[in-house]
Amino acid sequence: MMPAGLPFLFYAGAIGLLVIGISGIVLSRNLFRIILALALAEAGANLLLVLAGWHWGGSAPILGQGKALETMVDPVPQALVLTAIVIGVGIQALALALAVRAYRAYGTLDMRRLRNRMNRDIAAAAGIPAESSRDAPAGGRPTPPVPAAHRSGGGRA
């Protein structure tokens, strides 16, 4: 149904970014990689959105450049993508800030370890003896020590 060649490449790009991004979010353990994957997936979704208005021989939707209205591409997806990009920037900035604080508090960027430490903290705050967590690192591998300077920056600052 889809013509081979260039259009196929556009879609492959958008979908490739989406797939790389979503796989990264779901499968990565490193926090920084997850945030990067989020940015990639957002780029893929944006590309898919802007492709929605594309057609062969289209021109930019700007009047007074000697182009006929019929050749101009749909301006709406372009405006939408502008909005979506800014939203993505806001979310990524917050994600990075939270990652900095999480690293300060626990000294690791491994999502699974962060989650274990968090659950232990929540249980401790609730006065429940920490249950032997099922997905704790096998063999009681110790979590890397937090540098003293970091430790003072975390917690209830």
Partner: protein, 228 residues
């Protein structure tokens, strides 16, 4: 095993998405809303750049939500990172070459930023693009000389007032009998600097707000890096 599972997952997802994409009317988009906008934007809004007409006119509420998201992100960032402790070590100075370069770039970047903001209704560009350039202009000295003090209260003043100008312009339309965010002041002559009614004013407010917000975000993140 884990790699195999990842491969299967990604492959399945790609197959699914490609199968769906093959069914899309690609290259022959059904321009319903967009087509109507292309035909009428010149009369209704008067901006030569129709994307600007969509961003500030037809979908002005989206744009309001968008700048508010940046504002919320900045507020959340401030809440998460907290205040920089006095006496925390800073990154070293970047040396005379970069310092001079930053000082030279600053006025040029500001100029380009404002040009892009003010011509957003005529040519590609506008408040967001220009605002990002403004933010870069103010962040550059900070990169070259990490000790440069950042005027956060001043930034938040610009941010707050610029956002208020955007909303108040919309409210004036509402209170004078129109709808919220309706463009005012007529459309003017298509293609000239003083055209498209309130759109250039809105884009100026937007550009300043985006610039101040991004500069504040970057400065806070840079501070966080050295605050140990």
């Amino acid at each position: 095993m884990r790699n195999l599972a990842s491969l299967l997952f990604a492959g399945g997802l790609a197959f699914l998405l490609m199968a769906i994409a093959a069914l899309l009317p690609f290259g022959h988009p059904p321009v319903l809303a967009g087509g109507a906008i292309l035909e009428q934007a010149a009369d209704q809004v008067g901006a030569a750049n129709i994307v600007t007409a969509v961003v500030l006119g037809y979908r002005g509420l989206d744009t309001l939500g968008e700048i508010t998201i940046l504002f919320a992100a900045a507020a959340g960032l401030g809440l998460v990172l907290g205040r920089r402790r006095a006496g925390a070590p800073r990154d070293p100075d970047a040396g005379p070459v970069l310092r001079t370069g930053a000082a030279l770039m600053f006025p040029l970047l500001v100029l380009v930023g404002f040009h892009i903001i003010l011509h957003g209704h005529l040519t590609p560009g506008g408040g967001f693009q220009g605002g990002v350039i403004l933010a870069a202009a103010f962040f550059l000295p900070l990169l070259a000389r990490p000790g440069t003090p950042v005027d956060h209260p001043g930034l938040s003043l610009v941010e707050g007032t610029a956002g208020a100008v955007f909303i108040v312009t919309g409210l004036v339309a509402l209170l004078t009998g129109g709808e919220f965010l309706q463009p005012l002041l007529g459309t003017g002559t298509l293609g000239t600097l003083f055209s498209a009614g309130t759109l250039p004013i809105l884009y100026l407010a937007l550009g300043l707000k985006v610039g101040a917000e991004l500069a504040g975000l970057l400065a806070r993140l840079a501070d966080a890096e050295t605050d140990t």
